[in-house]
Amino acid sequence: MRKLLLLLGCAFLSSALADKLPAVAIQSGQPREFVEYRMLPQLVVPQELQGYAEVGSDGVLLKTIQAPYAETVEIGPDYLKLTRGGRSRRLSLNKQPALADFYRGLTALLAGDEEVVNELFIVTRDDLADVWRVRCEPRDEQLRGVVQKIVMSGRQREVEEVLTMQSDDRWQRLVFAPGGSLDVEQR
């Protein structure tokens, strides 16, 4: 009976807080280190990448990979700018609106932009003691073709990791180094 009450309480808490992100993963202008595991069905084991991410004042997400190779990815509203091996490539996302929405949603989630997150995803939040989990599922069918769900989890006011489950058995797990998160209200 106690378990049932606890579950009911969690469900109530989940729906009540569904429109609120508990923390901001990356503060504007403050780079945050991460380790990212990226997996493709064609890979034997996940690739482990190390680097740091930051969000500029213009809302552009910048991910810098330092190992095992050097790469910088600038994610803008409708483009990706990739710098690798000293050469830059700018990829327009105009032709791929679903992909553009995926990056827009991911950037918004990391930067704590609730409005955009709610526009693109159905957001549910589970809280258990000081541990929380925000689950984002695409509203749009085309976006579901790119990403199945994004799960951001953390403890108290700290974003610890972001798991992105993509279509075709791909996934990415972004694990942040401790410290550097911010309460949404403090932005």
């Binding site: 990226r38 493709l40 064609q42 890979l43 034997v44 084991v45 690739q47 990448l49 190779y69 790469e71 990815v73 990706l80 990739l82 690798r84 990829l91 327009s92 105009n94 032709k95 791929q96 609106p97 992909l99 995926f102 073709g145 790119v146 990403v147 992105t164 993509q166 279509s167 075709d168 791909r170 990415q172």
Partner: protein, 736 residues
């Protein structure tokens, strides 16, 4: 029925039958614009004439669809129709299925790649990073089949609109770019495309779509001309009938006047099928217009026959001179240097000759039994005493000398029947989709196909290194030496390198099997030839830019939006001296200018011949001066008034001015070769009927919404009114 009447009637019946037979069995139509251009002399002009009406992009339809969730279904419907070579919608990622089959199959013969062991390893490594970055299934398919990504690179160079194009505007309207299988000039096929597009839009989008491009413009123009032709022809026919009925007061005049004109039209048409393999649509359209002069002949005959058919013989000599003068002018067109104008000349020459003979031989048979009319018997003034034409001629020359803007335009686009707003919309859409600039072309010549292809290959590399974007046929048909080199590299590739690269990058073994299979296929492919692109979306690009001419070969490169052609031209001369920048607009101006000068020379000779003929006929300096002066004044004044009303004159206005000269001379001859009072009154009657009916018909044409038709109508109607006024009303009651 008298025997003469029977013989004449039978002859014309047999003649009409023969002509119709010739038309039925020999008539073959064409609408190639090149027919109306002279033999090109310079290289630039040759390229221009070849490309006219069928350049790259002429089969493109720009379709603007309203916002709708069903846009994708609409696009799919267009793609599956079989009417289009390609339909681009902009919002689709590149996928294996969207790549043209020939490009996919020959990809490793079409572009360079680093086939060394380290090159393969690097490519696989790079693609791993790409795949990890972009969660895109279409990209995965491409990457595992083409780790060098040669196909995306190749398509970026070849496909219009693949750059940063806005495929949707702020109001949510979608822009589609579709290329039809049918050429732009195949109006029947283009009409089928239009019908399909509009039906698909109604079904899928529940709304209409807007379409632009050579095909839709042609259809809209055809529709507009058809609509206008229907009511304008009806109105013109009613007006002409009203004029004739008012002046002749009997219904029989209608078919009697029409008979020689119809015989002339059939005779002229049959002559065309006899002398030419194909007959141009414009020849027929303008030919029937020019044949309007022939309506004068039956009117002269009918007017003079009112006092008895026997009186017709009195005007034969004047009619012969009038017709001979007109025939000389149309003969000049035959030698003006373009097949189209030559056809126009032959049609009008033969048509007028037939109309004259029909008027003189057939009409009197029907007129013999007509009752004599009660006629005006007033004294006839001597027209030769009027001097108003001198004033008009002097004033005309004064205006001509004071004129600061050019009288003639050599711009070929001035002959386009499209309204200004459609031309502007077309220009904006071409810029939006970065369609190659149709104005400029880079050209090189060589002895063989391979020589020019190698030259194009090298030039493309140099231009791209210098930062210029070009559409190059050598990207589609690489020179054989380059293809052989690429095949050698593919053959040297070891599958073991791929396995090693997979392992070192962390891929499961066999991930790139699709690539390994493609490599095996590429090793055994025959070399890619230009014919391999027939029936594909790149057929026109290859055919237009790689061709043999005069025993040699030519190759063209299309530059994208040249910002400063002068500087680019200088750079080209220094960097690629074998190549030349062709400005098609400049070439067209030089071509039309030369053409106009040739036509002017031919017409000048014709004018001299006509003057000599008139001198021989009149035998009087005073009469001769009056005739030549009156016609010159009428032509000059109508040309200047046309410039004032239309802005400038084009080649088509020049043809209209020939018609004015022919009609003006006819009026002047008949009103001045008076003879007795009755004959003068009859002549004036005929000239009045002719001038009123011609001015009414061409005046209506002048109100057309099609600029070219309006221009011709304006020039002829003004010219006819001035000619008539000079020949008739400028004479005072006593001839002073």
């Amino acid at each position: 029925m008298s025997s003469a009447k029977r013989i004449s009637g039978s002859f014309w019946l047999v003649f009409a039958g023969l002509c119709v037979g010739l038309i039925i069995f020999r008539y073959e139509a064409t609408i190639e614009l090149g027919y109306f251009l002279p033999e090109p002399e310079t290289l630039d002009e040759q390229v221009l004439v070849r490309r006219l009406g069928q350049g790259a992009g002429s089969q493109l339809w720009f379709i603007v669809a309203p916002p709708s969730p069903q846009t994708q279904a609409f696009i799919s419907e267009l793609r599956e129709s079989g009417l289009f070579r390609s339909v681009y919608a902009g919002n689709e990622p590149l996928s294996v299925s969207s790549v043209p089959e020939t490009v996919w199959r020959y990809r490793y013969l079409l572009a360079d790649a680093d086939w060394s062991e380290s090159g393969v390893a690097e490519a696989v490594d790079q693609r791993l990073a790409d795949l990890l970055l972009l969660p895109d299934q279409s990209l995965s398919q491409i990457v595992f089949s083409d780790p060098f990504l040669v196909v995306p690179g190749l398509l970026e160079r070849l496909v219009v609109g693949s750059a940063e194009t806005a495929w949707q505007d702020d109001s949510g309207r979608k822009y589609l770019l579709a290329e039809t299988n049918a050429p732009a000039f195949d109006m029947e096929a283009q009409a089928e495309v239009q019908l399909f597009v509009h039906r698909a839009a109604e079904t899928k989008l529940s709304a209409g779509v807007a379409s632009f491009g050579a095909g839709p413009y042609g259809l809209r123009l055809q529709e507009r001309i058809r609509n206008e032709a229907q009511w304008r022809s009806l109105l013109a026919a009613l007006l002409v009938m009203l004029v004739l009925l008012t002046l002749y007061r009997r219904f029989s005049v209608l078919w009697l006047a029409a008979l020689p004109v119809l015989a002339g039209a059939v005779g002229g048409f049959a002559a065309l099928t006899l002398f030419f393999d194909k007959v141009h649509g414009i020849t027929l359209a303008f030919g029937f217009t020019l044949l309007g002069v022939a309506v004068d002949y039956p009117l002269h005959v009918i007017s003079h026959a009112r006092r008895g058919a026997g009186r017709v013989k009195n005007i034969r000599s004047v009619m012969f001179v009038s017709v001979a003068s007109t025939l000389i002018a149309f003969a000049a067109l035959v030698f003006s240097g373009s097949p189209g104008l030559a056809q126009l000349g032959v049609f009008s020459f033969c048509g007028i000759l037939v109309a004259l003979l029909c008027s003189l031989t057939l009409l009197p048979c029907f007129l013999a039994e007509e009752e004599q009319a009660v006629l005006d018997q007033r004294a006839v003034p001597s027209l030769l005493q009027n001097r108003y034409w001198i004033l008009l001629l002097c004033a005309g020359f004064a205006v001509l000398l004071a004129q600061s803007r050019p009288l003639w335009t050599d711009d070929l686009s001035s002959m386009t029947p499209l309204p200004e707003h459609e031309l502007q919309a077309d220009k904006e859409l071409r810029e939006r989709f970065a369609v190659p600039d149709m104005r400029y072309l880079l050209l090189a010549e060589g002895a063989t196909e391979q020589t020019v292809l190698f030259s194009a290959h090298r030039a493309s590399e140099v231009l791209r290194l210098a930062g210029f974007e070009v559409l190059s046929v050598s990207d589609l048909v690489p020179p054989e030496s380059i293809q052989n080199r690429r095949i050698e590299q593919v053959v040297a590739f070891s599958p073991e390198w791929l396995s090693t690269a997979e392992r070192s990058s962390g891929f499961r073994e066999g991930s790139f099997d699709a690539f390994a299979d493609a490599v095996s296929v590429s090793r055994n492919l025959p070399l890619l030839q230009s014919d391999d692109w027939q029936g594909t979306q790149f057929e026109a690009l290859v055919n237009e830019n790689l061709y043999s001419q005069d025993g040699g070969w030519r190759v063209g490169l299309l530059p994208f939006q040249l910002e400063n052609p002068q500087i680019f031209g200088r750079w080209l001369r220094e960097s690629l001296p074998d190549w030349r920048l062709i400005d098609l607009k400049e070439a067209s101006a030089s071509l039309v200018g030369r053409y106009r000068n040739a036509a002017k020379t031919a017409l000048l000779f014709a004018a001299i011949l006509v003057a000599v003929l008139l001198w021989w006929f009149t035998g009087s300096l005073r009469h001769w001066v009056w005739l030549v002066g009156t016609v010159s004044a009428a032509v000059l004044t109508s040309a200047l008034l046309s410039v004032w009303l239309l802005g400038t004159l084009s080649l088509l206005n020049m043809v209209a001015l020939i018609l004015v000269a022919g009609l003006g001379l006819d009026y002047a001859l008949f009103t001045s070769c008076a003879g007795d009072a009755e004959r003068t009154a009859d002549s004036r009657h005929a000239v009045l009927a002719s001038a009123l009916s011609t001015a009414a018909a061409f005046g209506l044409l002048g109100l057309s919404s099609v600029p070219v038709l309006a221009g011709i109508g304006t020039t002829v109607s003004i010219g006819v009114m001035i000619s008539y006024a000079l020949a008739r009303f400028t004479a005072g009651p006593d001839g002073a």
